[in-house]
């Protein structure tokens, strides 16, 4: 089954408290030299049948309607992977 991967990230101008928490923990574990961290989400959607342009348009709509909130997040990538 072909798979479509959707990446969602907090908007650049929105403070990312989760990313900040991760960034603060890294040096405590000895991981140095990382200037900042931003944390996003990855969705893997398995698609029934072929991934046509029409299917992709529907998935883009799903990504901007449910998978992300456009007030605080951007869909930064939507990629088709062949299984």
């Amino acid at each position: 089954m072909p798979r479509v991967v959707v990446h969602v990230m907090p908007k650049p101008e929105i403070l990312d408290p989760q990313g900040k928490a991760v960034a603060a923990a890294l040096p405590r574990l000895g991981f140095e030299g990382i200037a900042s961290v931003r944390q996003g989400k990855r969705f893997e959607l398995e698609v029934e049948g072929e991934v046509t342009e029409e299917v992709l348009a529907t998935l883009r709509e799903a990504a901007s309607t449910l998978l992300s909130n456009p007030v605080i997040e951007d869909v930064v990538a939507l990629e088709v992977e062949d299984a």
Binding site: P10, I14, L15, P17, Q18, K20, L66, N69, V71, I72
Partner: protein
């Protein structure tokens, strides 16, 4: 007057909201997220909690529940709707109110009795208060930081749609968050839509409706606070008017 309170999977404060409606003199009506039916109620409260475990984003999945389709249409038609905490998040996710909530800027869950200034006493839920009055109600959340773009914030301010603003006087909290408990833009605790029938706020007025079970009221004693009752008596009065 029949006031509905919606229960979603993971809702916590529906019983408290039903009780607040009863103490205010209304008839509480339980509504179920999976029912495509508002049971002819005169107003609706979306209570607090962690509906759907806050999966995806707080309030995101609840926004598409069957009862919400009916509620969004009714709210656009003027039905008074109050969203408390998770209910506020749901109202933002359904775009009945602008903006969104993200994690508290200090990244911790915070629970405290929170002073709020009434900035707009002309909504369906705030007519029993005086403008500028400071009330004290419990606040308890992790994703309480209200954010919106600058244009939306300017519009909310220009149109007087900020209803509740955080002010100093809480008993405790992380350093730097004495007044504003979570980093919310413009110290916003609650807002309304253009028509004034839909109101959302992060703090919990339904936990401050009965002496003995409310927040501590400085100078009056522990658990004596009933400042939250005014939201529920306001809507009952606005329905009669």
């Amino acid at each position: 007057m029949r006031i509905g309170v919606v229960t979603f999977p993971g809702t916590l404060d529906d019983r408290d909201a039903l009780r607040a409606v009863r103490l205010a003199g209304g008839e509480p009506v339980s509504l179920w997220h999976g029912d495509d039916d508002l049971q002819a109620v005169d107003a609706v409260v979306l209570p607090g909690g962690f509906s759907y475990g806050d999966y995806l984003r707080a309030g995101a999945i609840s926004g598409f529940a069957p009862v919400m389709g009916k509620l969004v249409d009714a709210a656009k038609g003027g039905l008074p709707v109050l969203g408390i905490c998770n209910g506020f998040q749901i109202l933002c996710e359904t775009h009945l109110l602008p903006g969104a909530m993200i994690k508290n800027a200090h990244r911790s869950f915070l629970c405290r009795d929170q002073p709020l200034r009434i900035e707009n006493n002309r909504t369906a839920w705030t007519t029993e208060y005086a403008e500028g009055q400071v009330i004290r109600v419990p606040l308890k959340n992790q994703d309480g930081q209200y954010v919106a773009d600058d244009r939306t914030l300017a519009q909310l301010e220009d149109e007087g749609r900020v209803v509740f603003r955080y002010v100093a006087g809480a008993t405790h909290g992380p350093a730097g968050f004495e007044a504003n408990p979570n980093g919310s833009r413009h110290d916003i605790a609650g807002i309304t839509n253009e028509a004034g029938n839909v109101v959302g706020l992060m703090p919990h007025p339904e936990h401050a409706v009965e002496a003995g079970f409310g927040p501590d009221q400085p100078g009056e004693g522990t658990r004596t606070g009933t400042d939250g009752l005014g939201l529920f008596t306001s809507v009952l009065r606005s329905l009669v008017a």
